[in-house]
Subunit: 418 residues, 2 copies
Amino acid sequence: MLQAALRSGTAHRRSVFELFPRRLPEGRRYGVVAGVGRALDALEAFTFDDAALAALDGVVDAPTLDWLAGYRFTGDVWGYAEGETYFPYSPLVTVEASFAEAVLLETVLLSIYNHDAAIASAASRMTLVAGDRPCIEMGSRRTHEEAAVACARAAYVAGFATSSNLAARQRYDVPTAGTSAHSFTLLHDTEEQAFRAQVDALGVGTTLLVDTYDIREAVRLAVEVAGPGLGAVRLDSGDLGVLAHEVRAQLDDLGATGTRIVVTSDLDEFAIAGLAAAPVDGYGVGTQLVTGSGHPTCGFVYKLVSREGPDGSMVSVAKRSHDKISIGGRKFALRRRDARGTAEAEVVGIGVPPHDDGDDRPLLVPLVRDGEVVGRESLDAARARHLASRAELPAAAQQMSRGEPVIPTLHVEGTVEG
Amino acid sequence: MLQAALRSGTAHRRSVFELFPRRLPEGRRYGVVAGVGRALDALEAFTFDDAALAALDGVVDAPTLDWLAGYRFTGDVWGYAEGETYFPYSPLVTVEASFAEAVLLETVLLSIYNHDAAIASAASRMTLVAGDRPCIEMGSRRTHEEAAVACARAAYVAGFATSSNLAARQRYDVPTAGTSAHSFTLLHDTEEQAFRAQVDALGVGTTLLVDTYDIREAVRLAVEVAGPGLGAVRLDSGDLGVLAHEVRAQLDDLGATGTRIVVTSDLDEFAIAGLAAAPVDGYGVGTQLVTGSGHPTCGFVYKLVSREGPDGSMVSVAKRSHDKISIGGRKFALRRRDARGTAEAEVVGIGVPPHDDGDDRPLLVPLVRDGEVVGRESLDAARARHLASRAELPAAAQQMSRGEPVIPTLHVEGTVEG
C-alpha cells in the first residue's frame, strides 16, 4: 500500500487520520483512555533499523526500502489525555501528516490503544465498586508477558493500588506488592514452618496465605506465629464472602483486630461488588483484569478522514455523504457539564467549537508537534485525571449492569474557520 | 517468597513443578500447545541485569539480590512438543530444579503458554473449518503490539497460511501477506486511480479492495484495470456469503475466472463455517483470532507437585490425598490410539508408563537438560505436528458446537520405578 502510494505520488498528500470507537463494548457505560504514554514512546522509537529493512527486502521494492530507512514521524498528533473517560465517536487521537507517515502508525497506535484502554476500562469498573478498598493487579500469568507489563500500567491509571508485576515497577514506577503462593507452603514440611520462614524474612506486616490446608487452623497458626500485629491473611478459594466473615471474627477473637483480609480467586467487578458487605480489606484481581473482563479489545479504528486534493486544498473523505462540512480537518471534542459539574454529553464536531459558556471541558491536548513529543506526563497525573473524569460522570456510571453509555455523544457542526 | 525460602534454606530443595490445564475452555473439544519455542527462548534469556537488580533493590533483601544476580536456570524441563493437541490435566510442562530456580519461571512460562495456546487453540478451529482455503492472520491492531507478534506465530503453528505482521516475518519467518485498506482508496481522487496505482506498483497478482464505494462497479473497474489475470478481490463488509456469489458470477462473466475472492470482517470459526458453501478462496481473520475467539487465556496453572523432604527423598505434595503414589516425580503422558490410529484417550500417570502395545504415542519430549535447551525445532515442524495431531482426533473434533473434550483423560498408576 505504501509502495503503491509512493509510486503514484499520493503518499505525500497531507492527511488526517482519526482513531476512534464506533461504540463502547456491549453494555458498558463508559470507556477509559489508556496507553497514551506508551504510544508516545512507540512513536518516538518508530524507525526501521537494518535488521527490519533486511526483513522487508523482497516484501517491498527498493524505493520503498529507501524511504523507510529515512522514516521518522514529523507530523502533529492531538488526542484525549491518558485516563480520560470516552464515549462512542470520541476522537481519541488525530494524526496529521503525509499519508505515508501517518498510515505507518496505524497498527502500532491501534494495538496500544485497543489493548491498554480495554484493560483500563475493565479496571476502572473494578476500582469503582471496590471503593476505598485497594485493588491489586496480579494477572501477569494470564496474558502475554509484555502485555502483562502494559496491563499493570493501565490498571494503575484506572485506580489499582499496586501490581505484582516487577517489570512494571522497573519501567513505569507502578507500585508493586507481592504475595506468597501455595507452593511456598507446600515446599515446607509444615504450614507452621512456612509461616515462620515468611515472617522471619518479611516481618509481621506480611500477608500469609491461609487456605492451603484448613483455614481455621491456619488463621490460628498465623496469629500464633506473627502475633496480633500480623499484616494480612489471604483467601484464594471457597465462598469468599462467608469465609471473610468467619475469618474476621476469628482474627478479632485472637486480638488481631488490625489484620487485614485480602481475597483473590477469579474476581471480576461483579464478584467485587458482591463482596461489598463482607469484611474484606483488599482485592487481588488477575485473569478478569488482563482479559478486559469479557472485552479484551476495544474495537478502535483508525480512519482517513481528510486529505489533500489535487489542488492542494483539504478534502473530507468521511463516508457520511450528508455531512455538510466539506472542509475536513481535525475534530474538537468537549465534555459538556451541567451547573453542578456533572457530565451531560460528549460534544464532537469539525471546525471551531461552539461558544464555551464555562461548563464545556475541552478534551483534546497536543501530543506531538512537528514530530516532537509534547504530551508526555507522569502516570500519577493520568491516574488523577481518571479519577476526576470518572467522578464527573452521572451516577449511572456506577451501575455494573448492562446499559447504555451514561452520556450521549452529540455531533455538532462547528463554524467553519476563517 | 523467594527471599523467605532462601533465608529458611528450603529454596534449595529439589522440586518438581507442573504446568497443566484443569479443563479446556468451556465447550471446546481440544486445545493446542503453542509457545514452546518462545518459552525456551525466554528461559535461556532469563537472567537479572543491573537495571533489573536496581529496580528490585528495596523490594528484596541483599542476599536475595545477590542470588538473583547469579541466577541462571540449571534444571531440567520436559513437555509436550509445540503444536501437539492437549486435554484436561495433560502435563504440558514439567520443571525439575531447586525450588528457587523453578518457582522463578512460573510467571514467564504461564504467560507464554496461556497466551500462545489460547491463540493457537482458536486458530486451529478456524483452519479446521476453512479446509483447503487459506486463513490469513490480520489481527495485530486488536491486541498488544508484542502479543501481536506471538499471535502471528501461534496462528501459523495452528495452520494459518500467512500473517500481515511483518515483525513475525522478521523474528520467526512466518510467511506474510499484505492488503490495502480503505484509506488507500480514499487517498486517491478516484477508485480507478487507486486501483491503477496498486496494480502499477504490485502487478496484476495483487488483491484489490472492492467495497469502498459500490462493489459491482469496483469489480468491473478492477478487472478493467488489472485484466482478467487479477489475483484477488477483497470484501470487507456486508453479507459476505451473498456478495461472494454475486462477485464470483460477475468475475466469471468478465473472464476473470482465476481471480480469487478473499473475505474479511470480524470472522470467527462460526462465520468461516457459515461460508463453506460460498465461493470464497481465503479468509482474513483479525479480532477473533487475537482474542482467542472468546477464550483469550487458557487457565493453565503451575503447581508444585513434588519436592525434597528433610531426609532428601522426594515427597509428593499433590493435593489429592487418595493418590496412592507417594513417590512424586514427573508424569508420563501418552496419546492412546485405536487400531486405525484414531485417538482414544489421554493417558497420564506417575512412574513407569504401562506396557506400550504400539498404539500409545508418548507425548513428552526433553526441552531443557541441565539448563541447556535441547528441544528447539523449526516452526514448520511444530505446524506439521499440529496438523498430524489434529488429524488423529475423532471426527467430533470438527464440530464447532459446544461439547466435551473429544477424548477422555485417564489417570493411571504407573509402576513405581526401581
